[in-house]
Subunit: 205 residues, 2 copies
């Protein structure tokens, strides 16, 4: 990440080291650290070492940065469901692919997914993101319900509650997972499948 | 909750309707709504319709209120592990009792548990609470590891990761559970046991 570390020369207008993606990455980090609402454009420019006009060269507003980050996370999560739907005729196979894929998106796009999970619906950009999250939950709930009808997923847990619990487990990973740490992201996806679908209890019981 | 609703008469000094527990409940709600750090003593007194001296009659400081709320949640969670340990010789039975008991504490003490889950370690009170949370996690991790040695819990998931995932699922409930809503809290505890220990996949597979 091209963070301005304060040890280099003074900030320059239109600092050539920053492209749009790098500005986005730094802004998302600041949003996650201090909260989107509590972050001013001046906070962003001082962290980046950019002038306001240089920042506005990349993005027209603070909410445009938020929108891009949230859409990045949502596009990736929706692509997981699209791909699972295209590939797997059995709903229980689709569910497995979605759990694995969602964990992959979360670990690969940790900052933007973290931002998405903190959205509370303040303003038009957050409201639109919440609507897309809700539509995503409904698609997954329908797949869980279909897998219950197939008889491959137990039907004594309500499909909407089961979906919330599985994604509660997946989303909780943002609290402790750190890229490059001791936990391998692919293994984490398998662990979450083992716990949520197969169950922690030994099958021999 | 003895919330000052603004439609009654003007706030009175030492308003007799408030006892210490009611002041605590309102303060915790305000902390959860706007963040502990962002809440001033003036925010609390204006929400409560109390003078500062009336508030200080109940609590010596804002952090004393935080400490009491966090300890309330932590005491209850630790009591669940203590009781499970006293009652169940088998670690896998202890684990089931802990999952059920933790969901009960979360739904019964939703505001103080919500506050606990948002603690990031700013200041002495939050640091002490984080240490107690960590000790709690370690006790549960040891119980999961013991249940793995008993052969009743699968050992292909690391005990610490399994504990984090189970509590990730449990704790995610604060995001959507509302007392008196459609989801029965006792049933929710059973659902979380079904998903995390038994697994969502039908056992007939």
């Amino acid at each position: 990440m091209a963070e301005h570390d304060g040890t280099t020369t003074a900030p320059r207008r239109g600092r050539p080291g920053y492209d749009r993606d790098q500005v986005l990455a730094v802004a998302v980090r600041v949003f996650n650290e201090q909260g989107y609402d509590a972050t001013s454009v001046a906070d962003l420019t001082s962290t980046l070492g950019l002038t306001k006009s240089a920042l506005y060269h990349h993005f027209e507003s603070k909410s445009a940065i938020l929108e891009l980050a949230l859409n990045d996370a949502l596009d990736a999560l929706e692509a997981v469901v699209d791909e699972a739907t295209a590939r797997h005729p059995l709903a229980s196979d689709r569910l497995r692919a979605i759990v694995r894929g969602a964990v992959h998106v979360l670990t690969a796009k940790l900052p933007s997914v973290t931002l998405l999970l903190r959205v509370r619906g303040n303003g038009a950009v957050e409201t639109a993101a919440l609507l897309r999250r809700r539509a995503f939950d409904q698609r997954v709930t329908a797949i869980v319900a279909e897998a219950q009808q197939e008889g491959l997923i137990r039907d004594d847990v309500d499909a909407a509650v089961a979906t919330r619990l599985i994604f509660g487990m997946i989303n909780s990973v943002v609290e402790w997972y750190r890229p490059g740490g001791a936990v391998d992201p692919a293994e984490l996806g398998e662990d979450i499948l083992r716990v949520s679908l197969d169950g922690l209890q030994s099958r021999s019981q």
